[in-house]
Structures are given as structure tokens and as C-alpha cells.
Symmetry: C2
Subunit: 343 residues, 2 copies
DNA sequence: CTTCAAAATGAAACCGATTTCAAAAAATGA
DNA sequence: TCATTTTTTGAAATCGGTTTCATTTTGAAG
């Protein structure tokens, strides 16, 4: 069945297509009675203008491409959802792609976005978060960004990306101060890979805080690892081989924290009485573990809002700051503080 | 900076736009030397045809709209990713929307998809999975499907949707037979809401199997609940109030299983020695719990493949069966079978 | 009842591809 | 070499909107 078009409406209403378009875009003067008539027909036929035609004529698609490393990671799922909701408010649609840690795929996705003539791209994870990003990618991004604004949560030296980042320094401060306030002095870092920007920043800040508090920074308390359950588990197993056991562990994310907790429990120790555990991300998982996990919340709604705002403003030629920070919030739960009355 | 178009290429190559288009689509005869020249220029300028213009001219966008209840649910994230990969192979792009359990949002998303003139829509969860779907939605879907094929994992009576479903009967069989083989006779069902089709089917089959094996079906062993951690936790707390405790629990998904496991552990019982736990979905979580969770795997790659295949075939006017099933697979882990050597 | 500015309107161009159709060029056979 | 078939090719129409610009209507002022 053929789709109805603006011309069909125009014919039946006895006006020109231009007038229907004016009613649709609502930005010019149309005599009320004609407007009524046209609107009635639009209603009657449930007419919705073809987005491709619209996009073609004014050369902008009102679509924002979102590329994440992997939606199966709840962190990215949260951010994507937040972006979707924010975009909706701004009258934009979001197109999601996974890069799966594969640079070729990242490039491919960028091309796909370009073919679709998206208004802007938001990228999280992947090369834009990697300290040794290959120059090949930088080049592609540069070529890309000469046409389409790219908003990243990360950093890509040598390119003109917009950066919207979670304030890593603040995130570390929240966690470290919380633990130090609780009396912890032997705090270990079950880190991710240090060539990932956000991870590296956290590591640096961790050392800085220890120094500020005049706490000795032991190399053996910093373990590089993966961002999943096993990364956490293995890191903890390594920490168990330290001469003096840490009293608190900071995990790079909730999944890693889960691995750490299992390792601790297998060793017959209690959380938080023997060892406290805390993490970053505050995904739904943090609420679900036992004990519930103290975690730094990234305020996904604010984050998504800012990402989209930046993307939209840049796409429409407005002025936006190149670097923006989102302030995280600490969610204190029983993995660091055993509640009075419980146990 | 202005985007280059097919005309720019044509001019510089000294040919017509039609010829460039022929090179692009690769489906007509073009003299080799001209083809070379054009391809060189395409390469040189990194030209990518405008998808909107393409879509406009042949009235198909090569985009598949995917609507899920909530990507933050790993089940949907898995399916989405599988669809994305399958679509990529077929030369399609996927547009993701969340319906968040809100019928208005579902309708809105459908409209969005229509505006984008997507080639087909895949919907998982939400009204299409609800036994008392409101007729209003059915009406909208019918109007919708007269233009665009809709593939659902579920059922929508009174509409012409394509159905690609996980074989719920088989899924239940796998789990029940596994448990019965292990000697369990008191098997409880921590169910979801029975007005959800897939959940209802599972419930029916559960009863059927008990009957087949001449096992008494106790009403108190079936608990309706939510699809998350708390749903599982509460269900198990309820089960603990049974006169005779079940020896095995089937959870509606991995999150619910986690809740169940916590409840059991809080009561000081062991898994699987005292109570075995198994579930549906086999998301990444199943591997991560302690003990690892026996779960029915839905073969997301096959599922996504079939969903997309159906969508694409229908979109291109081919013949596809209206109903298709995906066969699930049982992943046996330590939550039902304590490994020899461990403990 | 003019006169003139403001508001409303439609014809036509445009966005960037594909596709049809007829013409031109090349290849084939006699 | 010429007639005929087959390949190549480009001009122009098309997809469905928006926008410009010139024209018509309307309304207010004189």
C-alpha cells in the first residue's frame, strides 16, 4: 500500500504542498481555517512526514549516532538509555552501534553514521578512551569531524572532539575519603588497564590522595586487570599474596567488585568487617549483591543529558564548551559500612 | 564544509551522475576505464552516498527498528547485539528504542519508526508479549503493519505480525528433565507474571510435565513475581513458608535467580545440596554467580539471526513463515550439580 | 473608495541519490 | 564497408519534503 504524502493531503485540502508543509513545521502564517482543514486531514490519514525527505531537503537528519564499546555492559546500557531520553526531548533520534573493542568496527560505524548523515556522534569507550590511540584513527576522526561533531567521553589528542567526562578526580576523592574516614589505611586498587584514560586518571589521583594523607603507597596494592568479574577475582587473589593484607579494596567497576567479593568470601573473610569493598559505576548490580555494594554513581541522566545537549548544540552550530565534567556521587552501602542492627 | 555528492564526482570524472550511480550500485555495465576513474575519485574524496537520498529515491531505508522493553536488562542487550550483527551482514542498520513498559512510549516509538520509514520493525517485550494487550495497541499495530512488517517475539492476536519465538516448551523440558533426572520431585516455580505470554507458556508446560511424571503439582510451589532480583527474593521468602520445602527452584531469569540464591543463603542453606536453583536466559550473570548458575541458553546469535532474517525477507517482499521457533540449550553449572572435586 | 503595507499562498527550485528511456557508441556479422 | 545487435551513456523524471520568491489577498489607514 502506497504511503500518503504531503501532496495527497494538499490535494484533498485544496491547498498547495507548501501550505501543508507550513502547517507541519508550524513556523509560518497560515490562515486558521486552512490550518484546521489540513490538520484534520493529517489526523484522518495519520500522516507522518517522511524523515528521509525532510532530512534530504534541509540536509540534517535529526539523528544522533551513539557508539559504545558494548551495550551488554550495564554502564553503557545506562548511558545509552539516558541519551535516548535526552534526545527525545530535543526532538532527535538515536542510532546505536557497538564497537566491541575492535578498531575496524569503530571506523566502520563512523562511516555508517556518515552515510546516514547523522547530525552528531557520541562515542563512549574504544579508541577515544585509549591513551595510545593509533594515529590512523585520529586521522579518520579528523576527517569525520570536519563534517560532523563528535562528542566523546574520553580524549583524543590531535582532534577536535567535544569532551564530556565524568570527573574522575572527584570520583576517586569520594571513595578514598570515605574509606580513610572509616579508618582504612591499607587501601588497594584493583585497577583496569592503565592505558585507558579514565582508569589512568583514577590511578594518578589515588596516589595523590595517599600522598596528601601521608599514607605509604605500596606498589603491590595496585593490580592492573580486566573490567569484568574475572579481572576482579584474579586481582583479589593476587592481593591475598601480599605480606600484609589490605583492609579495603577499590574495584574498577561493579562486575570486578563482584569477583573480588567472591574471592574474599572464599577465603572465609567477611565484608566489610575484615575487608571493605567499593567500586565505580553503581549499576543495578550494586544494589543486588550481598552485601550491597558501595559505589560511585555517575548520574547517568545528567551525563546523558550533557552528552546530547553538547551534540545537539554543536550540530546546530551553537557554542558549547569543548570540555565538560559531570560530578559523580557516592552511594554508601553495606560493603563498606555494616549497618547497625544488621549482621 | 559542504558534503560532496555524486554530482561532484561525476563532474570531475567527466561522466554523468547516472554513471557514478551505476558504479556505486555495481549493477549495470560501465566501461572499465570509466569505472576505474570513478572509483579512484570515490576513494580520493572518501565519498559515501547519502543514505537519505538513497532511501528517498527507492523508498526503502535499509534500517530495521528494534524496540525492546529495556536494554539495561541483559537479555535484551544480548538480543539487540545479535540483531545488530545479523543486520550488518544483510546490509541493514538497526535503530534501537526502549519502551520501558509504557504503552504510550511503544506507540510513540512505532510512529518514530514509521517516520523514519524503516524497512521493518522487531519488537521484544512490552505489549506484544502481553496476553491482555489492549485493543488500542492492536489497532495501531494493524495500521502500522499494513505498511511495515513487524516481527515480534511474542504474540499479538488479531494482527499480522511475524513471530519468532524461543521454544518455551523445549526450555521448560530441558530444565525439568534435568532436575527430575537429578532426583528432584519437589520443584518450585518462581514465575514471572502469568499474563506475559512466554511466562504463561512456561507455567503450563511445567504443570504438564509434572503430570506426565505423575508428580503432584502443589499450588503453593508456584509463585508469581517480578522479573528482577527482588521478585526472586520475595518468591523464595514465600516458598520458605511452605510446610515442606522444595528441593529445587526454577527462576524466571538470572536476576531473579540471584535473589533466590541470596534468600537461600541467608537462611543458612546450601546450593545445590539443600536446594538447587536454575533459571532462564543464561546472561553473563549466570557465569558470575557463586555457585555458577544452571540456566537455559537462548542462543542469542541464532535468535537475532532469525529475527533479522525474517524482518529483511518480509521487508523485501519475500516469503517467510509467520511463526518460527528457536531451540534453547541447557547450560548445566554448579547451582544444580555440585562438581566432583569441588566443595 | 483608494492606497499601501502586511499576511497568505502557490509555483518552482532544491536536496542527492536511482532509474527509465532514448540516443550514442561499440561490437558483431555479412 | 555497411547493417544490425549489444553495450554504454546521459538527460530528465522521480522520491517527498522545505524554502524562496513572486503574486494574490487581506486589512488598516487615509
Amino acid at each position: 500500500m502506497k504511503n500518503i504524502t504531503i501532496y495527497d493531503i494538499a490535494r484533498e485540502a485544496g491547498v498547495s504542498a507548501a501550505t501543508v508543509s507550513r502547517v507541519l513545521t508550524n513556523n509560518a502564517n497560515v490562515r486558521p481555517e486552512k490550518k484546521q482543514k489540513v490538520q484534520a486531514l493529517i489526523e484522518k490519514y495519520n500522516f507522518k512526514p517522511n524523515a528521509m525527505a525532510k532530512g534530504l531537503s534541509d540536509t540534517k537528519s535529526k539523528v544522533i549516532g551513539v557508539m559504545v564499546a558494548d551495550v551488554r555492559n550495564p554502564f553503557y546500557a545506562e548511558v545509552f538509555l539516558a541519551c535516548e531520553l535526552a534526545a527525545e526531548k530535543a526532538g532527535y533520534t538515536v542510532l546505536l552501534c557497538n564497537s566491541l573493542g575492535d578498531t575496524d568496527r569503530e571506523k566502520q560505524n563512523l562511516e555508517l553514521f556518515y552515510e546516514q548523515r547523522v547530525s552528531a556522534v557520541i562515542q563512549l569507550g574504544g579508541r577515544v578512551d585509549d591513551l595510545n590511540s593509533d594515529t590512523d584513527y585520529v586521522e579518520i576522526v579528523n576527517q569525520f569531524t570536519s563534517n560532523i561533531p563528535l562528542v566523546v567521553s574520553g580524549k583524543l589528542d590531535g582532534t577536535l572532539c567535544y569532551q564530556v567526562q565524568i570527573d574522575a578526580v572527584k570520583a576517586v576523592d569520594l571513595l578514598m575519603e570515605h574509606l580513610i574516614d572509616l579508618g582504612h589505611r591499607r587501601i588497594a586498587l584493583a585497577s583496569g588497564r592503565l592505558n585507558v584514560l579514565s582508569t589512568y586518571e583514577k590511578y594518578q589521583r589515588y596516589k595523590q590522595i595517599l600522598k596528601n594523607y601521608r599514607i605509604d603507597c605500596r606498589e603491590e596494592y595496585v593490580v592492573e586487570g580486566r573490567y569484568n568479574y574475572y579481572g576482579g577475582y584474579e586481582a583479589m587473589e593476587k592481593l591475598f599474596r601480599c605480606e600484609e593484607l589490605p583492609t579495603a579494596i577499590i574495584a574498577i567497576n561493579d562486575y570486578a567488585a563482584l569477583g573480588i567479593m567472591h574471592s574474599i568470601q572464599e577465603h572465609g573473610l567477611r565484608i566489610p568487617q575484615d575487608i571493605a569493598v567499593a567500586s565505580y559505576d553503581n549499576t543495578q548490580l550494586s544494589e543486588l549483591l550481598s552485601p550491597r555494594l558501595t559505589s560511585v554513581d555517575y548520574q547517568y541522566d545528567v551525563f546523558g543529558q550533557k552528552l546530547v545537549e553538547t551534540a545537539v548544540t554543536a550540530a546546530e552550530g551553537g557554542e558549547v564548551s569543548r570540555i565538560q565534567l559531570v560530578t559523580p556521587k557516592l552511594m554508601v552501602r553495606e560493603s563498606t559500612v555494616s549497618e547497625a542492627g544488621s549482621l
